[in-house]
Symmetry: C3
Subunit: 318 residues, 3 copies
């Protein structure tokens, strides 16, 4: 079976997951994003790439932050953007996900940016479009369940390439709640595809999933050991709703063991960069001094995120 | 008293209801909509018709679906669209409906798309504008109580004309909860005005209003009988909130008696079309095999709905 | 310490409060607004002043009405507008106000329109931007706690100047709940700066703050006395949530004593204008006959409000 993300010429048709996306496609997205970072610094931050196109932000799960990044990216490409908070809409009236999609297709949608609490929902929509021969409508996964958050993974790769240049010599560490993180899944897939030789996963046993094993991936339960000589530290967000759950003692205890402080970071290379997908829980995953410090590239990630989303959208519409 | 929907030259000033709208006006709207269906298939789906105009989606009752269709239509005409979910706004602060309208007029609104749970609210707004000499501001009823949903009725007429060509030889059946349906009221008015010789209303006695009698209208309580040799089957939506009410036994029982299945549809002409205003309750009003089948034109209705709304807005702004 | 609202050349950098804003700046805003009132009467109500700029409506407190006026003003200047209802967003996930701001800055925001229940929040954001050297990003206070609502104050000044021409001979009365009104604070500051020789504050003792004393300001507890020979009557809104509180007897009793009626208004000059920031509680603060009467300029305030907000935004972006 062909990769549903690619058309028959290997062009990007949907962006659903970074797992299985070829290295040349990943690299093409990062290359396309580069000039878009400059658009944002112009006096008039607009390009006519998606003029007259209708982009639907189809959010079955509320996320103002992610929705905003896609809305800005689409508007900078001159698209018409319609925000649909679908939890309050037709699905509440008993309409199925695919009926909702069919209706929006009938309104001549050009692109769906889909956020859904259920893993696989964007994939289901893409398959439905393919089955109906709708090659003119594109799906971007903006986060589905615990499965994937590919544009976050891409902006992370853009950030690493921007600061480190080359993937082939890097040691990259992911820290924290890997178990519940769709971001981590996308990051690991992309890092492996782009040729990072050593990926480390650091966290308490209760928050590390089984089945992570792959060549080049090492698991650590100790920060000092896991961060030793790494080039990149990728912190993960601890979901508030987990903080007082069975898997974790308290936020304070988590911070003591896994929160990134100057002391723990000193184990890494002196020019290591510190990343976080946001929003940060200061004093839980990360100390404020580090979050605002010289090694942090957390706000660069946000800036590159707009450019990467513009790149994905313009490639899909091409 | 003059029809408040028409200006002194007979041009469309407000669209409040299809009841009493002359046949030539209905036909003019359908004729205007036709080229707009082609706009949607262009590379750049935009026309400058409403450029610099402010369209307010004034939704006193939540309906993401309907709001979306008007938002897309207005944006394709290059209008600036402002969405106001008014239940959470000033009326909650005790401001009256007409004070809200006066305020928006003072902000130089050009058009109000009004959805309201109370029958007559858009009419009240239009009368207020007329009394104040504001002939430059236009009202479109996007559904008011049990009264009317004229753009839905118009897109239904567009769909019938598209597939059947001529109204003058048709037998059209409406099926289901006519009692609570503003859609049905608009459909019946338009079908009669456009010269459909036989309109059938099919449903349980508890869901058929009294006072339906008009020449050419026949009431049926049996599907096999009511659908016999019809050209068009217009299913109505059963509101979820009614399903377990006093007027109905259970969704299952409703489906058994009034749900459209292949067997029941076989009574209609073999080229009959099946319509539904959406969102559908599959397995309640309609069997999935019919909803997705060759006779269904349900998604065409949605597509034509954008064109019809563009037509109405452009005629009002002319 | 320099006024954070002004850049080193005295140009407007942020609009946070009217208190302390020089008279020439106030006058410049009113002068800039004048031509924008004409834009609204053109066929195409759009200017390219903010084309390609991203304006964020950052509403930490819900206010559809105020948000709408800024949204319209920004769209008429061709900006891309993103509405963020932040109570449902990242701050709910524990992200701090300034982290949210930093993230939006990283998305290349050009302007923040900030509404917040806490007095001083827009000031905090502006200080943060200044501390970070972000002179390219501008803050407009759209109402913070009990502190200030500067664009409301400005549109009120525009309205007075429009109808009365000259501030230097006027007697202006503010009536009602001054204690809880950010609008009153902004009005008093602007009236004083613009040279109004006599400002009267009229209301029950429980709703008048202490510390109002300044040259030219007089306090009254009787309407007949307070309104005698005034040129301008500025009614204040009585918040619903206060109406049955400890400070007030009942809405009926408030109306009897402080509600503006024809009888009470007759004490003012015969050409006095009546203003209200809206939304009005008819029959509480003001009689309907007055609200809709010949002396009321309440809807003019709304119209001028769009022009004033366009003026502020265009001066900030200049």
């Amino acid at each position: 079976m062909r990769n549903p993300q690619l058309d028959k010429n290997g062009g990007l048709r949907h962006l659903l997951t970074l797992d299985g996306l070829p290295r040349e496609t990943l690299t093409a997205i990062l290359d396309t994003a580069a000039p878009f970072t400059e658009v944002a610094e112009r006096e008039i931050k607009k390009l006519p790439v998606l003029r007259g196109k209708s982009v639907f932000n189809l959010f079955f799960e509320n996320s103002t932050r992610t929705r905003t990044t896609f809305e800005i990216a689409a508007k900078r490409l001159s698209a018409d953007v319609v925000n649909l908070n679908v939890s309050t809409s037709s699905t509440a009236k008993g309409e199925s996900l695919l009926d909702t999609v069919d209706n929006l297709c009938a309104m001549q949608a050009d692109m769906f940016v889909v956020r859904h609490a259920a893993s696989g929902a964007p994939f289901l929509i893409a398959q439905h479009l393919i089955a109906n021969g709708r090659n003119d409508i594109h799906v971007v996964n903006a986060g589905d369940g615990r499965h994937a958050h590919p544009t976050q993974g891409l902006l992370d790769m853009y950030t690493i390439r921007h600061f480190k240049g080359d993937f082939s010599q890097l040691v990259v560490a992911l820290v924290g709640d890997v178990l519940h993180s769709r971001v981590a899944r996308s990051q690991i897939a992309a890092l492996a595809t782009l040729g990072v030789p050593e990926i480390r996963v650091i966290g308490p046993k209760t928050l590390l999933p089984t089945g992570l094993e792959r060549p080049g991936l090492r698991v650590f339960h100790d920060m000092a050991e896991g961060l030793r000589d790494v080039d990149v530290v990728m912190m993960l967000r601890l979901q508030n709703e987990r903080m007082n759950g069975a898997l974790l003692p308290t936020p304070q205890e988590f911070y003591k063991n896994w929160g990134l402080t100057a002391e723990k970071l000193s184990a890494a290379k002196s020019d290591a960069i510190v990343m976080h997908p946001g929003p940060m829980n200061r004093g839980v995953e990360i100390d404020s001094a580090i979050a605002d410090g010289a090694q942090a590239v957390i706000l660069n990630q946000v800036t590159f995120g707009i450019a990467v989303r513009m790149a994905v959208m313009s490639m899909l519409a091409a």
